[in-house]
């Protein structure tokens, strides 16, 4: 049984007012990716279900998130009966969403492990269906569409294909400083510092992007889903172009210089062999990628990047005073177990 967490109405109201309450249901939030979908009338619909921290006094690893599912009755009448089933629990025992005071909202908050990806459906007025708010959806093998969400630090690939993420990793690492001589020394040291048992998963050891690609995958699955199309088109164009330039080697295995050259060309917006009919400005994609990569590598690891806090550790190690004390003591402010602040819980 997945535990239900007790939260108060003040907390739930805070998840709702700004985002869902409104008179104008017009597509104010359609950045070109939602078409006529009613979710374009909701502010930041990707926030639902709402994934939050929950403090566990008995487990220092803080293994769980609090996930709040919200249903807003379309007719704004209270009293609709809504149930939930999902991969986080037994699919045969629907979990009720309870009315939120006297409003037309119904909610339930569940304790779910961090690092997981789940699918779920709602039974609204007796009919099983996807969550009408959450834009994340996935097709199961049997062809049925479910709603999807993921908890903090999830690493399963969601929207990028395997080849896309490999190619992307090469582009990200070109932007980041970790492939430089300094970066390599750092990576080696962090890696060697882990005892064999604690050694980072293989993927991270080789991933010079320190999780940036995973961050981007999650960002494109959720907050910036409107940019998925940029990645899909541009990675396809890049893949094709690199295959033309180097017919024998898989693009993601090409030497560094090839990516450096490609990057330089994209920066000037003039890339030999680029299909401008399909994507007008390769420099625009590069700018997007720069912002995403940098954010991914230095943001809180809950977003899926900054793997093992490598981004922060890199700066921590790089900047030290004469006595060897770090000049970026990020761990001082950050919650355990990532950091060592004794008061702040994350």
């Amino acid at each position: 049984m997945v535990p239900v967490l007790a939260v108060d109405s003040e907390y739930l109201f805070g998840l709702i007012g700004k985002f869902l309450a409104r008179d104008d249901a017009g597509p104010r939030h359609d950045y070109g990716h939602l078409d006529a979908d009613p979710r374009a009338g909701i502010l930041e619909p990707w926030r639902f279900p709402w994934v939050d921290a929950v403090f566990d006094p008995d487990d220092a690893t803080q293994p769980d998130n609090a996930v709040t599912f919200v249903h807003a009755a379309a007719d704004r009448q209270p009293g609709h009966v809504v149930h939930l089933v999902g991969s986080f629990a037994d699919l045969h025992t629907p979990i009720p969403l309870l009315p939120l005071v006297d409003t037309h909202y119904a909610t339930v908050t569940l304790r779910i492990r961090k690092g997981e990806v789940h699918h779920y459906r709602l039974r609204i007025d007796g009919v099983w269906q996807v969550d009408p708010i959450n834009p994340q959806r996935m097709l199961l093998d049997n062809g049925v569409e479910w709603s999807r969400f993921f908890t903090w630090g999830a690493t399963r690939r969601l929207v990028l294909e395997r080849w896309e993420s490999r190619l992307l990793q090469r582009l990200c690492s070109h932007i980041l400083p970790f492939h430089t001589a300094d970066g390599e020394t750092f990576f080696k040291r962090v890696h060697d510092a882990q005892g064999p048992a604690n050694r980072a998963p293989h993927a991270y050891r080789l991933d010079e992007s320190a999780g940036a690609v995973n961050f981007i995958d999650k960002l494109l699955a959720r907050e910036e889903a409107h940019h998925l199309i940029d990645y899909q088109i541009c990675l396809e164009l890049i893949d094709r172009l690199l295959r033309l330039r180097n017919p024998v080697i898989e693009p993601w295995k090409l030497p560094r210089e090839v990516f450096a050259e490609l990057y330089r060309e994209m920066a000037t917006a003039s890339v030999a062999g680029w299909n401008y009919g399909r994507y007008g400005n390769p420099r625009y994609f590069l700018q997007l990628l720069r912002r995403h990569t940098l954010t991914g590598v230095f943001s809180h690891p809950r977003y899926g990047g900054n793997a093992m806090t490598l981004g922060w550790k890199y700066l921590e190690e790089r900047y030290r005073d004469a006595s060897g004390a770090t000049l970026f003591d990020w761990g001082r402010a950050i919650e355990a177990p990532l950091g060592r602040n004794s008061a702040y819980r994350g």
Partner: protein, 602 residues
């Protein structure tokens, strides 16, 4: 309809002090707040705070403007979790090119506590002179950059003097919880309620050196962050030393509640009282009048349903732009309302922010700026009459250093070459040369090395600087949005140049041990920015100035609308001049003063 002694709209600096005073005196108080109640971890059912030390909370994912009719349609913008969304509730400003653009400028934060949840907490008093700039400038003919005598014509004295406000400054400092030092401040103090400041960040020593070399008396910047247990609000400082010093300060809510926002300092302590009601997530859509009184306050509850309440007294404190807007919208529904409130056509006029800007340089050495509060040192040297006259200025201002800016890696990158929310990320994304070793070099040069010194000074009040309702753009409730129309006066430009030079000199003298030759490449002021007309420095003032002449002001000396018996406005809108310092402490002190007047009426 529910009835209360007082209905207060907005729970920030202007609203909360009144709520606290009146509720403690036993009156029934309703606070209506548009934003959510975001709590510290100790109050929260999940044991964690709604605020996080997380750079993506201050500036989140990219969104895109979809509003039609604005020149920046389809542009990117980046919100925080407590600012309104630009597509749902924008502010529109008129650019220098005559085109309208949506902006996040002019919003502080929409949450219980308002802007005080996110603020840098710099809590300076205004100077004694700031409150009498009308008489100070009368008859002067040495004011630079004022060919038409606008300054002399438009400068106003406040209807109260510093001595009247002073006890309320003391009371605000005690109730809110502020650390700082009094010695060397240019303002008279009758009592010292400051808590002891933490040690400054070592990088601020350059500022101390520079100020000393230039003979500018300095003091520790008063910051609304408790460093010791605070009895008036019942807050306890955790055992972890200097727990609040993290770099997650300006634009971040404090998960531990050590920053003295109006929720933890003033409202939360009322939580158990039966006569105090706080309704978060409730947006007031308009007021309705009954004779010379506000008869109804109409709001939407969290589910969007309209609700009506009544108060013997009604206090509007939505932060100046939104308060003006609320009253203009109320007037649109009822011409008699407009006639009563805006007979002299001054509603929304004389909108103000501050003249602001400063200097910034890469200093010798590197420091851990992530161990910091927002500011360490301040000086009032440029608020003295001597200084003001010697520079041909009409008024003075405060200078202080910023310690926490660009302290964290993402903020360093996203503010690279840009200082405001409307242009954030642009330069970094654009600077495609920054990869690999060049990115290392960028961090080597900038991380923990940059130091900035800012000024906040009086802006010339101008009739044409105003808040209106936008003719065509409405928010998600179908309410027309605020339209910001303002420019900088030629004297503002002179004043900003003078102050920017002072800031430059502090770094130039600080950087080389007092010789004054240290290179400071970046200095200037806000009038130079491409979107200078939009920029408001988060200081949203004027638009409903108070005064002692009903023909020349919107509010009377007690911040009551002249022709309404029970309507008060206590956010920054009441200010006839913007003061030579960050405004929040003054808004709070004035709100306590008004609260005493209201107590006498109830």
């Amino acid at each position: 309809m529910e009835r209360f002694d007082v209905v207060i709209i907005g729970s920030g600096a202007g609203g909360a002090p009144i709520a606290a005073r009146l509720a403690r005196a036993g009156h029934s108080v309703l606070v209506l707040e548009k934003g959510p109640l975001l709590r510290t971890q100790e109050e929260h059912p999940l044991g964690v705070s709604d605020f996080k030390r997380d750079e993506l909370f201050a500036t989140g994912a990219e969104k895109r403007l979809t509003l039609s009719g604005v020149a920046n349609r389809f542009d990117s913008f980046y919100g925080s979790h407590v600012e309104p969304d630009l597509n749902d509730e924008p502010h529109i400003y008129e650019g220098a090119d005559g085109l309208d653009r949506a902006t996040i400028e002019g919003y502080t934060a929409q949450v219980v506590g308002g802007g005080t949840q996110l603020y840098g907490a710099v809590s300076l008093r205004f100077s004694e002179l700031d409150l009498r700039l009308g008489s100070f400038n009368a008859g002067r003919n040495d004011i630079v950059g004022d060919p038409n005598g606008d300054v002399r014509r438009e400068a106003r004295d406040w209807p109260i003097d510093y001595a009247t406000l002073e006890p309320y400054y003391c009371e605000a400092e005690r109730l809110i919880g502020i650390n700082g030092t009094r010695t060397n401040q240019g303002k008279p103090f009758s009592a010292d309620h400051y808590q002891t400041p933490y040690a400054p960040n070592p990088i601020s020593a350059y500022v101390a050196t520079g100020m000393d070399a230039l003979g500018l008396p300095r003091y520790r910047t008063p910051l609304a962050v408790i460093t010791e247990d605070h009895a008036p609000s019942g807050r306890i400082v955790p055992a972890a030393a200097e727990a609040a010093k993290t770099g997650y300060v300006n634009r971040y809510g404090d998960p531990l509640g050590l920053k003295s926002n109006t929720w933890v300092a003033l409202l939360r302590p009322l939580s158990g009282m039966a006569n105090f009601t706080l309704r978060a997530n409730c947006v007031v859509t308009h007021l309705e009048m009954a004779g010379d009184r506000i008869g109804k306050v109409v709001y939407r509850d969290v589910a969007g349903r309209p609700v009506e309440v009544a108060g013997k007294l009604v206090v509007v404190a939505c932060s100046a732009i939104e308060s003006v807007r609320l009253l203009l919208l109320s007037g649109e529904r009822d011409p008699a309302f407009t006639a009563r409130l805006n007979g002299n056509g001054l509603l929304g006029r004389y909108f103000l922010t501050h003249c602001f800007g400063g200097a910034e340089a890469i200093m010798p050495g590197r420091f851990d700026k992530s161990v910091s509060l927002d500011s360490d040192w301040a000086t009032d040297a440029c608020a003295s009459e001597d200084f003001i006259r010697s520079q041909g200025l009409w008024a003075g201002g405060a200078i202080y250093n910023n310690t926490s800016d660009q302290a964290l890696p993402i903020s360093l990158a996203r503010t690279h070459g840009s200082q405001d929310m409307d242009t954030i990320w642009q330069t970094f994304a654009d600077d495609t040369a920054l990869t690999g070793d060049a990115l290392n070099a960028f961090f080597d040069a900038n991380f923990g090395t940059r130091l900035s010194v800012s000024f906040m000074a009086n802006q010339v009040p101008l009739f044409d600087n105003r808040i209106e309702l936008h003719p065509s753009i409405s928010d998600k409730w179908g309410r027309r949005v605020a339209y910001i129309r303002k420019t900088w006066h030629s004297h503002d430009v002179h004043l900003m140049n003078v102050f920017a030079e002072q800031c430059r000199r502090i770094l130039a003298f600080g950087g080389d041990g007092g010789k004054g030759q240290f290179p400071v490449s970046e200095f200037g002021a806000i009038y130079m920015a491409a979107n200078a007309r939009a920029r408001i420095a988060n200081h949203i003032l004027g638009g409903m100035r108070f005064g002692s002449d009903a023909a020349d002001s919107v509010l009377d000396p007690n911040c009551r609308a002249w022709q309404f018996d029970n309507l008060y406005v206590t956010d920054g809108a009441f200010m006839p001049t913007s003061g030579g310092a960050n405004p929040t402490l003054t808004i709070q002190a004035n709100a306590l003063r008004v609260a005493d007047q209201l107590l006498a009426r109830l």
